[in-house]
Symmetry: C2
Subunit: 322 residues, 2 copies
């Protein structure tokens, strides 16, 4: 089976057909007629097998994850998803793999009205690059740089489960049977917080998605906004699975450094705190206040009101000794 | 050196700063404020080391080529380049490589006012995925599907040199000293026909860029437009290097199947032929009429007015036996 046939066969069956797509897959470029008076948000991510997901990850999970990772970046800007391009590098063509992978991709695309508008299929070691685009209203979008001293720091959902699942796969931790499925799902099928991001456009001062580990991503907000933070470890939203699987200090450590959570970390002024909490209650996504910003330019971790020292170097995909 | 520092260091030095870029590299997404009443053309390509370029290709050439390949797709739609995202997968971080690679990227970006707005850097076997975007006027762009019976078929520049260079690198052909540099340049530093594409918006009925081999790309036009063609081999624009390096029938064969030319193949009605030739004369790019479309739905190759049979299966990057 040739390259073009593979693409046509598995990626021509999408049900999403947006009105702003003038020309979809099949020519040298796709053509878009963007809505007027909107910004376009654009994000690109590469996921490499064995680096960003375990080698034995199912094709459907990989398909889900590559789209979810990009949607999570759009969510962090408060953007509404619109179009996606998918560049797939595969060692060999495997029809079952392609069918499952495209199913994983299209599940999310259909849910978010995200249209696949192009891409490329090439031969090589398994890796996938996704470019996703979406709309934000002009002058109404989220960045990392708007946080102010006194703002409250929040995170959606629970953090640390994906990292725990990875540790389990690597054999460095034992997990009770009752928790195994839930943490594996967190790793394989992350839920991008797309709706939360759009609601937060009206309330948050800054936002980022938690992909590299909460500490590293919090550091990005602090650096971009020129603030510091008192981070209350007691408040960190850890799952029961995480609390029951490893000692609590290790759980904090993992939650802060693990990565792959794809939750939103955001800041809100004291004035907007209640209104934001009310608005987000309608989304059905839990949020937790985990700290308050200050002018220290540092991340200080507190437990029972006292300063504790954790090694919270962010997760780096790519680290080479000098 | 960490991922983020690498990105910041080598890719923060671009001189292009477009007015329609609201937010460039550095947040979860870039933000664009697109011009009104324009379409946006979007193209994604992956280049894998050892598949799409020889393993010993210079970093600067790789940087040039990944951008040129995308610009060539934009040119084939008649689009004006605007923004580019770059996902780089590297086995190890090599500062000299990154410096040379980014120089290759920025040379083309600066020439075409193309702003780098984001991307990703990951660890793995060398491959690069580029998503480039540009503008076309609404209702005034080129596709593969508009060619009509009776239209003339043209190609820009010369074809076959990149394929010849690849054969030389692979050791399957000898090349005279005087020709080596020119064909190597054709392979490593292709010139996307961006300006030609924009001029052709007013004249051409269909266009495609020659990336997979002239025959394969011509086949795409014929299929999309539901036409056939008499292709006049005598007229194929072959370089002196190609003509002097291999027998003429092999040269035709290579020109039709080699790929990597990044010339434009386009069709124009008899009525617009002269006006198009006049308009393109101002671009300084040579064009050659190589055939005329008919209703046969087949590509027929002619030499000295007689039908000849060549094996013109298109170049497929990804071909696996069933």
């Amino acid at each position: 089976m040739k390259e073009f046939e593979l693409i046509k066969h598995y990626f021509s069956k999408q049900s999403v057909a947006r009105k702003d797509v003038v020309l979809g897959i099949g020519d040298d470029c796709a053509l878009i007629q963007p809505a007027e008076r909107q910004h376009i948000a654009i994000t690109t991510d590469t996921l490499v097998a064995g680096v960003h997901f375990p080698l034995n990850t199912s094709a459907r999970a990989i398909g889900h994850k590559v789209v979810a990772v990009s949607l999570s970046d759009l969510a962090a800007m408060g953007a509404e998803p619109a179009w996606v391009s998918l560049a797939i590098t595969l060692p060999t063509i495997d029809e079952a793999w392609a069918a499952d992978f495209s199913a994983g991709v299209f599940e999310l695309c259909e849910f978010y009205n995200l249209q696949l508008i192009g891409g490329d299929t090439t031969q090589g070691p398994l890796s996938i690059t996704v470019t996703a685009q979406g709309y934000t209203p002009t002058e109404k979008y989220l960045t990392r740089s708007g946080a102010k001293v006194g703002d409250w720091l929040y995170v959606t959902g629970e953090i640390g489960d994906a990292a725990l699942a990875l540790k389990y796969i690597q054999g460095s931790v034992a997990i009770d049977d009752i928790h195994r499925a839930s943490i594996q799902t967190k790793l394989d099928f992350p839920k991008p917080r797309v709706l939360v991001g759009q609601v937060l456009r009206d309330y948050a001062t800054a936002a980022i998605d938690v992909s590299d580990g909460l500490a590293a991503d919090l550091h990005h907000i602090c650096e971009a906004s020129n603030v510091g933070v008192n981070l209350v470890l007691d408040n960190l939203p850890l799952s029961i699975a995480l609390r029951e699987s490893i000692p609590v200090m290790e759980a904090y450590q993992l939650a802060l450094t693990g990565g792959d959570d794809y939750e939103l970390l955001f800041t809100v002024s004291d004035d907007n705190k209640v209104a934001m909490e009310t608005a987000l209650a309608n989304t059905g996504v839990n949020i937790t206040c985990i700290g308050q910003l200050n002018s220290s330019n540092k991340i200080k971790t507190l437990l029972n009101g006292e300063s504790v020292c954790l090694d919270i170097q962010g997760y780096e995909h790519f680290s080479v000794e000098a």
